[in-house]
C-alpha cells in the first residue's frame, strides 16, 4: 500500500492547507474502499500494476487536488477580448513610436547601429507593455464587476456598418507594419551610407545628388507608409481613411518620381574621369530612368483607381443615406 500512501501524500501537499486533512481522510476512505472491493472480487491482494491502474484512474495528484480549488482567472473571459484588442493596439503604438525614433536617429545622426538598437529593444518594451496592460485589466476587471459596466451598454454606441470585409488578416497587417518600418530604416540610412544599398558596388557607383535633395520627401514617405500600415492594424474597417492615406502616399510617391524623372544623373561614378565608365553610366542612367518612368505610370494608375474607389464609396454612402432617409 506504499504506492497509495505516496499518492495520497502528493495530493495532500497540493491541497489548500485549511481543508487538507479533511479531504485526505475522505479520499483515503474512497481509495481503500475501492481496493477492498477489488481484492474481494479477485480473492487476493492487489498487485503493484493493479494499484497503479487504480491510482491512474483517480488522475494526477495535482489535477485531483486542483479540483478542490475554486476556478480563478487573472482576467475574466468576458473582458478578455477587449484586453486582447487593447494589448495589441498598445504593442503596435509602442512599436510605431520606437520605429519613428529609430528613423529619426537614422535620418539625423546617420547611425545605423543606434537606429537598429532602438528597434532591437522592442521585445523588452513589449514585455513591459504586456505586464502593465495586464495589470491595468486585472484592476479594471475588479472595478467592472462592481460597477456592472457591461450591464449599462447602449446599442446606439456600436460602430457603423462597414461595406466590405478588411482585405488583409491582422497578422498580415502587423507583419507589413514591422517589415515596412525595417525597410524604411534601411532605406533612409542606406541613402546616407550607400554601401547598405549597393554593397561592394558603392566603390564603382552611387546615387546622384538628387537623392539627397529628396531626402526629406523620402522621410515623409516612410512615415506615411507606416501610418497606413498602422491604420490597417488598428482600424481595419476604416475603409475611407485607409484609401485616403493610400492616395496621399501615392501622390507623394508620384511627386518624388517626378523629381527623379527630371533629374539628370540618378547614378554617378564613384571615381570620375574614366571614359569607359562614362559609357556604362549613361546606359545605367537610361535604364534607371525607364524604371522610374514605369514606376510613375503604375503609381498613377493605382492612384487613379484609389481615387475612383474613394469617390465611388462616397457616392454609394450618399445613396444609402438617401434611401435610409
Amino acid at each position: 500500500m506504499e504506492l497509495i500512501d505516496r499518492y495520497l501524500q502528493s495530493v495532500k501537499m497540493a491541497l489548500p492547507k485549511a481543508e487538507r486533512n479533511d479531504v485526505i481522510r475522505e479520499l483515503t476512505d474512497e481509495v481503500l474502499s475501492q481496493v477492498e472491493e477489488k481484492e474481494a472480487a479477485l480473492g487476493r491482494p492487489l498487485t503493484e500494476d493493479e494499484q497503479v491502474a487504480l491510482l491512474k484512474q483517480l488522475g494526477h495528484p495535482l489535477l485531483l487536488a486542483g479540483r478542490y480549488r475554486k476556478q480563478r482567472y487573472l482576467i475574466d473571459p468576458s473582458i478578455f477580448a477587449i484586453y486582447w484588442m487593447v494589448l495589441r493596439l498598445v504593442l503596435v503604438v509602442v512599436f510605431l513610436a520606437m520605429a519613428v525614433a529609430a528613423i529619426a536617429v537614422a535620418a539625423t545622426r546617420q547611425d545605423l547601429g543606434k537606429a537598429l538598437g532602438i528597434l532591437f529593444r522592442y521585445p523588452f518594451a513589449a514585455l513591459s507593455v504586456f505586464a502593465w496592460v495586464t495589470l491595468v485589466f486585472v484592476v479594471l476587471d475588479i472595478i467592472q464587476v462592481k460597477l456592472d459596466f457591461f450591464g449599462k451598454w447602449d446599442p446606439r454606441t456600436l460602430p457603423k456598418l462597414t461595406k466590405r470585409e478588411p482585405k488583409h488578416s491582422m497578422s498580415e497587417s502587423i507583419a507589413a507594419l514591422v517589415f515596412g518600418a525595417m525597410a524604411g530604416v534601411w532605406w533612409l540610412v542606406g541613402l546616407k551610407h550607400q554601401f547598405l544599398i549597393f554593397g561592394p558596388g558603392v566603390f564603382v557607383v552611387h546615387f546622384g545628388p538628387i537623392w539627397q535633395t529628396l531626402y526629406p520627401l523620402f522621410f515623409v514617405l516612410v512615415i506615411v507608409d507606416m501610418v497606413h500600415h498602422t491604420v490597417n492594424v488598428v482600424r481595419p474597417a476604416w475603409e475611407k481613411g485607409r484609401v485616403g492615406i493610400r492616395v496621399l502616399y501615392r501622390a507623394l510617391t508620384l511627386l518624388t518620381l517626378y523629381f527623379l524623372i527630371n533629374a539628370k544623373d540618378l547614378l554617378v561614378p564613384t571615381k570620375a574621369g574614366d571614359p569607359n565608365m562614362q559609357a556604362v553610366m549613361n546606359g545605367l542612367n537610361t535604364a534607371v530612368h525607364i524604371a522610374v518612368i514605369v514606376a510613375a505610370i503604375v503609381t498613377a494608375a493605382r492612384m487613379a483607381w484609389d481615387v475612383y474607389d474613394l469617390l465611388g464609396r462616397r457616392a454609394s454612402n450618399g445613396k444609402r443615406a438617401a434611401v435610409s432617409l
Binding site: 476512505d29 474512497e30 488522475g59
Partner: protein, 135 residues
C-alpha cells in the same frame, strides 16, 4: 444530413456530453442525498443508476455543495473506518425541488421541439435527393 456516432467527431461528442451532464450531475447528487450516504456508496449508487461519476468530480462537488449550504455532513465510524456521511439540508431540499421543476420544464420543451413535424424538403433538396436516388 445525419451522421452516425462513428462518423461524428468523438471529441466534440464527448465535450457536448460532458456539458450536458454537468448540470444534471448536481441534480442527481442532491436527489441521491435525500437519504444519508458517504462518498463511496453515493458513487456506487449513482453508477448503478447509469450516472457514472469519477472521484475527482464527486468529492470536490460534495464539498462545494456543502459550502453552499445545500448539504450537511458528519464524520462517523463504520466498518472500522471513519467515513463522512452526507445528507441534503433543508435549503438543499428546496433547491432540489426548484431544479427538478426546471429540469422537467426543459425536458418537456425539448420533447415538444422534437415532436414538432419537420418542415417539408425545399425544391432544391428534393431535387438533390432525387439525383442521389437515381441509379
Amino acid at each position: 444530413m445525419l451522421h452516425t456516432v462513428d462518423t461524428a467527431n468523438p471529441e466534440i461528442l464527448e465535450n457536448l456530453r460532458s456539458e450536458l451532464r454537468r448540470g444534471s450531475l448536481i441534480v442527481a447528487v442532491l436527489a441521491e442525498l435525500r437519504a444519508e450516504q458517504y462518498g463511496y456508496t453515493l458513487r456506487k449508487s449513482l453508477e448503478e443508476h447509469g450516472i457514472a461519476i469519477d472521484e475527482g468530480t464527486l468529492y470536490p462537488l460534495l464539498r462545494r455543495l456543502e459550502i453552499q449550504g445545500l448539504l450537511t455532513s458528519e464524520w462517523r465510524e463504520q466498518d472500522k473506518r471513519n467515513k463522512r456521511f452526507y445528507r441534503l439540508s433543508p435549503q438543499g431540499n428546496v433547491i432540489l425541488i426548484e431544479l427538478l421543476l426546471d429540469w422537467e420544464n426543459l425536458s418537456a420543451s425539448i420533447r415538444a421541439i422534437l415532436q414538432r413535424p419537420e418542415p417539408g424538403p425545399t425544391s432544391e433538396s428534393a431535387a438533390a435527393s432525387q439525383v442521389k436516388a437515381a441509379p
